[in-house]
Symmetry: C2
Subunit: 428 residues, 2 copies
Amino acid sequence: MTEYDAIIVGAGVIGLSTAYHIKRQNRNLRILVVDKYSAAGQGSTAKSMSAFRCLFSSPINYILSDSSVDFYNHVQTKLGVDLKLFFIGYLWLLGEEDFAEMASILKELAAKSLKYREYEAEELAKLLGLNIRLGGDEEAELMGLKDVYKGIFIPKAGIIDADCIVKFYEEEFLRLGGEIHYGVKVQDLIVEACKPIGIVGEPFFWQEARVSGVKTDSGIVKAKKTILAAGAWIPQLLDGVGIECFIKPKKRQVFAVEAKNPLLRRLLFIKGFNSVGCLPFTILPKPRVLIRPFPTEGVFWLSYADDFPRAFKLEDDPQPEKNFYQYGIYQVLVKYFPQFKDCRPYSAFAGLYEINTLDGHPVIFEERDLIVVGGASGSGIMKADAIGRIAAALYNGDEYALLYGGRKFRVSDLSIKERRVEPEELQI
Amino acid sequence: MTEYDAIIVGAGVIGLSTAYHIKRQNRNLRILVVDKYSAAGQGSTAKSMSAFRCLFSSPINYILSDSSVDFYNHVQTKLGVDLKLFFIGYLWLLGEEDFAEMASILKELAAKSLKYREYEAEELAKLLGLNIRLGGDEEAELMGLKDVYKGIFIPKAGIIDADCIVKFYEEEFLRLGGEIHYGVKVQDLIVEACKPIGIVGEPFFWQEARVSGVKTDSGIVKAKKTILAAGAWIPQLLDGVGIECFIKPKKRQVFAVEAKNPLLRRLLFIKGFNSVGCLPFTILPKPRVLIRPFPTEGVFWLSYADDFPRAFKLEDDPQPEKNFYQYGIYQVLVKYFPQFKDCRPYSAFAGLYEINTLDGHPVIFEERDLIVVGGASGSGIMKADAIGRIAAALYNGDEYALLYGGRKFRVSDLSIKERRVEPEELQI
């Protein structure tokens, strides 16, 4: 049986970025990617809002995102691969308390050269037809909605096409001689004694043991290193061998509303924020309903990342819930943007976040020849390039990874045992 | 429908200690305990090795255990309730490297007045018929077994009867007017809006919500506070509402071997270590096979807490595995104690550890009227009294709990958000 140098489980954006960066640095090695779907990026990657920002409270999240976005921009502008990347910016609408919280974060980021612009609420009200005063509206008060106090616009942020990134990594990986087997579902990790003695039932607990590959629905695949990049499915596979990764799956839903009426079209194609001439990715005051414009389709994507009591639950085919839009997102949205009155989604989809419950950062660690790359917590696409480079550095046994743009990143900072990260305060 | 002041899920040693301490301080409140079994302590409590020690690397684990053991001793000697508690001591057999690790821990504990005695390997060899030199034994070398370098005997340690402790708490709780419903299985936590508005589908994400009770196989029970003390089953219930507790279940097995032959009887009833005149609870060098003497039954209990690749897995009725004894425990044991040659267990049982994967300490926290008390990581019985007092203090809204003996303990030290504990290095 062939023993691969590495098998990577998961051909989503994290798995393929990891595969590409490993192969790029190790051209002669046999690297195999397997995925249960019939093509790349068909799992949670396909269910993403495909947006990016460099605004995080944690310096590590900032670096991961900032360097990845720079790389994507390089791919599009210098390598000429269209990733449908548009710097439309993020517009963060804040209540008075939220703004106080955000102010210190922005100060720190400004020191790191992150540009942003502050908007007065009144200015945004005029520009966007935004309702900034909810006081006196009984319903809004019952819902706990806050007045808009300020807006923060971040230009280094925007939208991208997840599928284009995935295809880029896939093609580059294949071009370098990497192998991908689609339609292969990994069922279990295989564990073997490091020095087998040939007795049935090995490994016994007094033997050193390692992960030696995977059992799939089309047979066993052995590898020197097994790399788990299966997103929300990682913890299930790790539970099978008793390794903790602090990742939990949680459903996330996106609802698509067409900008049919003139008021909505005006909102979608608002001038003055960006060169595209469209609404920035917009975040409402708490609860943070999200508006992701899709100008090429004439559509808004609407979402909300609900916390309690949304279950940690692994589902093969998570479904969006009509009432989540109707009694949840819509009710909040229409208070701030009356333009959405009576709008119903024409389509919707749901995927799984792979939430790192320790601190909302990725986890990248190796144990017993098993490398885990996951926990991107809903910001995997915007960080995938950096994550792939760090995972490749771990595979190579390097202490530091070189991120795009030249920053050095200490690989163990995202491990479990020597983790050095501050909890992220701006998860959305 | 009655709304209880508190419902406690789980009538194991942690649940009943919590129930008792809450009720003791709040005699007029209606406190209900439910358990899926037909009597107290029938879950993992019944599958414990029922031993205790005050030797931990973490100061917090030391305090939890030390004060609980003092309380149990008080119950037995002052209140006259037989808990079958015997201070037979722990004998920790150490390889040279293990000893170096242990030395600094002992030094710290000595400063806290923990007594211990150091044994030379040769002395133990003579006393116990222990094989201290494995060098030259090919099998032992293949198995990675180390010579015994020293032994550490800790007198404040021993064995106890888990069932007796459980019955003590149960009786006291009932005497104070507490209620227990056995044979009631909790299926889900119930979540309600804090201020319901009467629309189907509540709570919506813009509403404040809380845990308002539990759904059981015999109906709904509502309570002002819901207290989860269901051991390894806690994470499953919490996953349902998306709350992380960092607890994972792992099977643990115990094998009972009769001291039939004269050599084994001599080992079991060895003089000189304790007033009972029996072998101390004995821990072999790594891998740490455990020998728990059961002198009143003429039996040894043998166990090993295996790590990788033992699955994190929830099972209703976990089973001991014959090969785990035969190719695992037995092979190690017989190298050090040849007296066990050809011994086969006459019975065996298995239960679930509720491992706290952050740091091996209990977790005690409140979120949205839900109190979680768990993660005792295999040392629940020896810490149950302190854990119950801390949980009761949390229930009462106190900043500090008063442990038996008068120590004050900051309740939030074992929370998730303000956790202040150092990882335990001496988990066995």
